[in-house]
Symmetry: C2
Subunit: 201 residues, 2 copies
Amino acid sequence: MLRLYDNLISGNGYKVRLLLTQLGVAFERVEMDIFQSATRTPEFLARNPNGRVPTLRLEDGSHLAESNAILCYLAEGSAFWPAERKARAETLQWLFFEQYSHEPYIAVLRFWAHLPELTAQQQAERPGRKQRGDEALSVMEQHLEGRSFFVGERYGIADVALYAYTHVAEEGGFELGPYAAIRAWCRRVREQPGHIPITEG
Amino acid sequence: MLRLYDNLISGNGYKVRLLLTQLGVAFERVEMDIFQSATRTPEFLARNPNGRVPTLRLEDGSHLAESNAILCYLAEGSAFWPAERKARAETLQWLFFEQYSHEPYIAVLRFWAHLPELTAQQQAERPGRKQRGDEALSVMEQHLEGRSFFVGERYGIADVALYAYTHVAEEGGFELGPYAAIRAWCRRVREQPGHIPITEG
């Protein structure tokens, strides 16, 4: 059985939990205490040298890291991964956008909101990260105006990846009120068969 | 013909230039003055709302962004993209590692070295980015010990993506001296048929 090293606060972990559930694939979940550096032990670093959740143990005992790579691996051959070459490329474009232009701002400010206090460095970085996160939301809003989903008018892993931290962006201090297309898209994502909330393991 | 919006200083652009050349695919290159915000004009934002190079204009007139998504699109069906499912997943794992754990540190410090002066914020962030970049190099070094290339003992787009900023990391203040496996891998990458240097358009 697949084994997911995870943490319930992680939107990156939630992506994988959500897709596995919607695919109907059985898995066991191991909750890692990321606030106690559980992913930095020698035992865990042997599974993922980059020391992060989610990390997925495959049936053959090997491990796969990087949430969006795991989504691609699991979605191959399913309705969540486009059959057409250009739609696959657009899906990957949004997955890389999510990791480079969205997650470092929207996910990180949410994570920082869970810390007892911020360092001086974090406080100094907060305004810049807030601005970059708003820019990412603007790019999403513009794309979603007149569209139902990110790629090919069909729910897929680009939506799974971007929904994970967008729908909880307000926990990090972002306001979704001005983004009508994003809010409507969030509702459509929640209506998909087999949807689970981020708090569900 | 494919048209690549690019800048010769960009390692992300270099990835695409290098792969297109090695695939033997003809393309025209448009040099964008990224220091003069050429990617932030309304005309360019209509091509890529995220306002970045590289952006690739496809034969049908549509545009594809995100260097690593472009690599996947171009490599499909070639020897640079693995035929086996797990090797594809491992390739994507390294591509996401590159964009999340490598580029924001190693590429950004190199870019900052080209600026006339750093802001106080950039100066404050520099030590943290240096440390994260060294951590990324350590993960790469550990993986490459005993391996020829990143995935499946075969040169592919994971190597293209990671080579782009690694081989010029010293321009940003990183030292490659301690990383023997990385230096040997860089030599193997440079020996591949059709290799071009980052300075070549």
